[in-house]
Amino acid sequence: MSAAKAPPGHFSILYFAAASSFTGKSSEHLPAPVSARSLFDELEQRYPGMRDKVLGSCAVTVNLEYVDVEDGEDADRAIEAGDEVAIIPPVSSG
């Protein structure tokens, strides 16, 4: 499930459900560092339209902890090389 270890200077990002369908990938490695606040901009640049169609309803985890990338102190943190980021669309178990 987890992506292969990121090469030096990169973090791993995992895409689930609609995020995976939109990007056509389940994971990739992106250059680090990047501020949490700019993560969605970064993704929008790579996948035009993703913010409106997917990211707007998604949560983000960094190393298995939820991070608010749009507001508050969380948004100021940096995503560092080796981190595992995940895009979490609305869930649908059961």
Binding site: M1, A18, S21, K53, V54, L64, P89, V91, S93, G94
Partner: protein, 181 residues
């Protein structure tokens, strides 16, 4: 992507069950068929006078549209943390004796078990309530996603939180998510 085409998205699921077990909690994500009696056996205890078992099975329709197949995917390490946190909180809040939450991953044929929750408690009221709350919390929070494929080939990611369809797979322009939260 339709079901007849190779999908660019392959549900990435563990080949073996992922479990976390303590004397009073068992949580599991598994590619195997679920066995409700195993969950029941886990929670059975001489100090519990009540056992409640919930079995969720996959339905053959969504809003009257025929569903031909279903698959669940997950972010297992995170979903396991969440399931364990839910189990721990139910155990304390409802003074349960034991609790088991097991969810299927991968293809789940229509009519088969996708989730099994078993709880035991000294008395029935706590067991009923905890069983229901454990299910609702799991549906709300566990990082598991259901892909429903409709007859005719279209795949749709469901979202529990609004009871509406999620995003159609491979046709992002046609997002059919209703804004009726």
């Amino acid at each position: 992507m339709s079901t007849t085409e190779p999908s660019t998205y392959t549900p990435d699921i563990p080949s073996k069950p992922v479990t976390k077990t303590t004397p009073s909690i068992h949580v599991e994500l598994t590619p195997n068929a679920l066995n409700p009696s195993t969950a029941t056996a886990f929670v059975r205890s001489p100090s519990a006078g009540a056992t409640v078992l919930f079995i969720g099975t996959t339905r053959d329709s969504f809003n009257n549209l025929p569903v031909s197949s279903l698959a669940y995917t997950s972010y297992p390490p995170l979903a396991m943390n969440t399931l364990y946190a839910i189990a721990t909180s139910m155990l304390t809040k409802h003074e349960l004796t034991k609790i088991a939450i097991v969810h299927k991953l991968g293809e789940c044929p229509i009519g088969e078990e996708s989730i099994v929750i078993a709880v035991s408690a000294p008395h029935r009221q706590a067991a009923w309530r905890a069983g229901e709350e454990a299910l609702e919390e799991t549906k709300k929070r566990a990082e598991i996603w259901k892909l429903e494929r409709f007859e005719g080939g279209e795949g749709v990611w469901r979202a529990n939180r609004d009871g509406a369809m999620g995003t159609k797979v491979g046709s992002e322009e046609e997002k059919v998510k209703e804004e009726n939260k």
